[in-house]
Symmetry: C2
Subunit: 412 residues, 2 copies
């Protein structure tokens, strides 16, 4: 057997560091939210890098960017590697980004080695993975997988009323390619763990076997405006209070499942008029529930809905669910996972099996293609925070596993 | 004694109805928030009406408009009548407005009668009474009374970051007159009750003897951003949850004092980033507490601060007070109240003594001038709502009391 190919670690990390200059946020972090000017600048640089590597770049209608390295069998479906380049408003320099740039590094390494593959290999950057600007998260990989309708995705609005499709056009990434509807041979995604397990365990590569069952909800609360002075407590229908009660109930629910590592999060609360002197007659609460055990996740959902009824009764408001989403039930492809294990073994890299607690584009893509994911460590598990930190020394093993697994798959 | 003067009811109500066309909100209501284009249009019309009535109009640096009808004793301090022309975002057509236009009708009636007064009479419209755009409420009458510094008032910002002073200039009401610092002989304010007592009791005129002790607070909550998935419940510092806990605690506090007609309101909650997928590290809650008994109000405040500590502990966040305001401790002037009682008796109008539960410009003005207030009925006590309703038939008695009391005072 020939010498096992390895990436150019220095070049890979230089790209990661260069990307970390675009869209600065709080000290050490990024605020490169989807379809912002910073996102455009990052996309432009990524496209330039891909074209310099000889790739053909296409952009689909929801702004997903695909950079294709041709295979010797032009008709064969591609092996795709990727993640996302957008961040949270208080995000780090690694979440998503290392996965996209790891894919780019795979292509660059294959070029260095003069290595042709039977199947094409594509690197993808998915639009708006974070959901930090347009809800729900992973919206564009979801559209690719047929979970969301592309027209619906293009019509999403941010808090300022800007429309996703118009913002894509504004930054020059409203592409022509159809969204999904084509065969992928396989999809690989490398991502920082966003949890403490690898860091604490001193293991550099996590094999993701699946995701926490995740249930997202938006609840709408309807009340009545009135004066905060004379209006008696027993006549009040303060929608802000209804939503606040539900936010507290969601947090309590998370604590009840804390011993089995369940989570429940009140993530977003908006109200109207939300002003001094007047009771609000409208509010929305966005929350999610996560558990490794889908049956316990379902039980948490049942408790959430019981809490909704209780909060409605106590606040004298109407509360109804206006949106919901589900991810993390997926199990990844045994054959693709096997390629990761084989590559790790050949490289002599220890691995740990992990169930992901965060959402990833890979979940949706797994609905339409054999999929596997690699986790790499981040310090203390800190993420969605400007103190998020990953190190080359503990990331490169994962990228080498990715390289060899993708290479094997592409030559299958 | 000569025949008791009375207003021209039809003219008065035509003015009220004309003002109700400016700044439409929800059906039947207004959204004429301070320093909006609609506020400018209303101010322009009011100034035009005052000038047509022969008044000299001056605007002070915080945008308060004074329309002066000269007295025979040019050096005598004026009797001032007024209220506000701004509304909540879901406001009605009467809250504040009837008081300003009642003042204008007093001047018009005196002109009709060819009645000169010894003291000048001024009609005033105070800027941003509602606090619906710039906090705190009653900001400009507060500045007039020396409670707030004028420069501080001019620097207040709204949610979009617009600055009060710049917005005043934009709509053409950044006046030159100094804010306050001059003697008023007396101040009278007529206002809808914003409560159900007059309506239910079939009495048209309320004599306001004072206000509910009111304590407003803004609390800031500080936490830490993190991922809503992997981050364990026991490490979380979700500022949104801290603020929601406090909002619920405030509401519970109100209920504990419901039997003695106390109120506590969570009016406004904002958080950052306030997005799906990330825990918020900052939130603010604006709330207020009201009780007719200042001692009980103080006890409520003590309970509020105990709740703040409890919520901080339970949410693992820091919570601190960043702003507070106090009003409603004032007692109105016995002599001015006596003039209202005399006028009502002379007119044969039954009155009811009422303690106001809402905030009014009169509270602040009472710190620098002998002050009294008249309440007129609104249907069902509904206010800060597009269904707010007042009727001429039940308002005119109050305006006639105002006319005769102001006339007596101005000839004193």
């Amino acid at each position: 057997m020939s010498r096992i190919p390895r990436i150019d670690s220095r070049r890979f990390w230089q790209s990661v560091e260069a990307s970390g200059e675009i869209g600065p946020g709080r000290p050490g972090g990024l605020a490169r939210v989807a379809l912002s000017d910073a996102d455009r600048a990052m996309r432009d640089l990524f496209v330039q890098w891909c074209e310099s590597a000889g790739c053909a770049v296409t952009v689909d209608r929801v702004g997903n960017i695909f950079a294709r390295r041709a295979g010797t069998d032009a008709g064969a479906p591609p092996v795709v590697i990727g993640s996302h380049l957008d961040t949270q408003v208080n995000g780090g320099k690694y979440d998503g980004i290392v996965g996209v740039l790891a894919g780019l590094e795979v292509l660059r390494t294959l070029d260095d080695l003069g290595q042709k593959t039977r199947r094409p290999i594509e690197v993808v950057s998915w639009t708006n993975e974070e959901g930090a600007r347009f809800a729900p998260p992973m919206i564009a990989s979801g559209a690719f997988a047929g979970v969301f309708d592309a027209e619906w995705v293009l019509a999403r609005t941010d808090d300022a009323g800007s429309v996703l499709g118009a913002e894509l056009a504004r930054i020059g990434y409203a592409g022509n390619a159809p969204v999904g509807g084509r065969q992928l041979d396989a999809y690989f995604e490398l991502h920082i763990e966003q949890g403490p397990i690898l860091d604490a365990g001193g293991v550099d590569v996590g094999i993701v076997t699946g995701g926490y069952a995740t249930r997202g909800f938006i609840f709408e609360v309807k009340g009545e405006t009135a004066h905060t002075g004379p209006w008696p407590m027993d006549k009040r229908k303060n929608a802000l209070v209804g939503a606040a009660m539900l936010a507290v109930a969601v947090n309590d629910l998370g604590w009840r499942y804390h011993s089995t590592e369940g989570k429940a999060t009140a993530a977003r609360l908006v109200a109207w008029p939300n002003k001094p002197g007047i009771l609000s007659d409208w509010a929305q609460l966005t929350c999610d529930i996560r558990h490794a055990d889908p049956q316990l996740a379902d039980r948490m959902v049942a408790e959430l809905f019981a809490a909704v009824d209780d909060c409605a009764q106590r606040s004298h408001c109407e509360i109804r669910m206006v949106d919901r989403w589900v991810f993390g039930n997926e199990r990844f492809d045994p054959e693709c996972i096997g390629l990761l294990r084989t590559a790790a073994r050949d490289l002599g890299v220890p691995v740990l099996d992990i169930v992901s607690q965060a959402g990833h584009d890979a979940y949706y893509v797994s609905k339409v293609a054999p999929t596997a994911m690699i986790f790499t460590p981040c310090v203390g598990g800190v993420t969605h925070n400007n103190n998020e930190k990953a190190e080359l020394a503990r990331t490169e093993a994962g990228v080498n596993v990715l390289l060899n697994a993708a290479l094997a798959r592409a030559n299958r």
